[in-house]
Symmetry: C2
Subunit: 137 residues, 2 copies
DNA sequence: CACCTTTATGTTATATTATTACATATGTAA
DNA sequence: TTACATATGTAATAATATAACATAAAGGTG
């Protein structure tokens, strides 16, 4: 035993199911739905929706993934740290989702927040677009 | 007979069910869920989810109402014409939803769109806030 | 270590949200 | 009239998400 140096770093504290779900989302690179994730993970032993939703909830809470609200799907965070302020471009034709850095938006958002005296915790912006691939077809 | 003067104005072309649903949303003034709308309209003779969803779909399409994606609820449009570009403040504590004019946002959005070379059809921005009433309690 | 608390897991059942499929009716235009 | 598009009614079912409860693992305190 000796060095059972409990690597209890906060940063790698994902549990088994959380790791499995995160891996799938990372490897897929696209937005996935909960029940499609469940299907894909039957072989890993996960067999109930709740196992998926619990992992997803936690990963969202940790900022590792985001939920695409208008599509009930989930995608890995593309940025280092969104602080849960998210911007997506969602293709209306093929459903492709791409996360966008929100830096350019901050000024406009700040003004809007100030003018409306809002106590903003976070925000989520969804652009509905025709993606490059769909535009050329 | 005689004057069956078909009042076929495009502007008032809502159908019976569409009018009933829109009226309820207008009178309530708050965001409502489809099945709660259904419950409220049992007395008007609407009895299946599909009757509600069809009316809601059409009203959204016409821009009369909006869907709050993160809450699966619907609210009357608060502006004259959003062109389906919507901004909401959603209280995380009580669920209250308020539509916000998006004029101040346009510059930041335009830049973001330009920088990412997006072909944007429309957008939806959801601010998660602590509303005034909840802040004081 | 023993003890307690918190967090995660497994499992079943159920709630909530939304659509498919098909038959009928109504509105609009040539 | 005929044709076509749009709206309605109704039943069944699909897709998304949570409640409830039992058990297990992880973490902190003394
Ligand atoms: Zn992100
Ligand atoms: Zn596309
Ligand atoms: Zn509006
Ligand atoms: Zn509130």
């Amino acid at each position: 035993m000796s060095s059972t140096h409990t690597h209890s770093k906060k940063s790698q504290s994902l549990t088994k199911n959380q790791k499995i779900v995160l891996n799938l989302l990372q490897n897929s690179g696209e937005a996935l739905k909960a029940y499609s994730i469940l299907d894909s993970l039957k072989k890993e032993g996960l067999k109930s929706p709740l196992q998926i939703y619990r992992a997803l909830d936690k990963l969202v809470e940790l900022g590792k993934i985001h939920k695409i609200e208008s599509r009930n799907s989930f995608i890995v965070c593309n940025n280092s740290n969104c602080a849960s302020n998210t911007v997506f471009a969602i293709c209306e034709r093929c459903g492709n989702v791409k996360e966008i850095k929100n830096s350019d938006l901050s000024e406009g958002v700040k003004e809007l927040v100030k003018k409306n005296r809002m106590n903003v915790t976070r925000y989520n912006l969804e652009f509905f677009v025709l993606c490059k691939s769909c535009k050329t077809n």
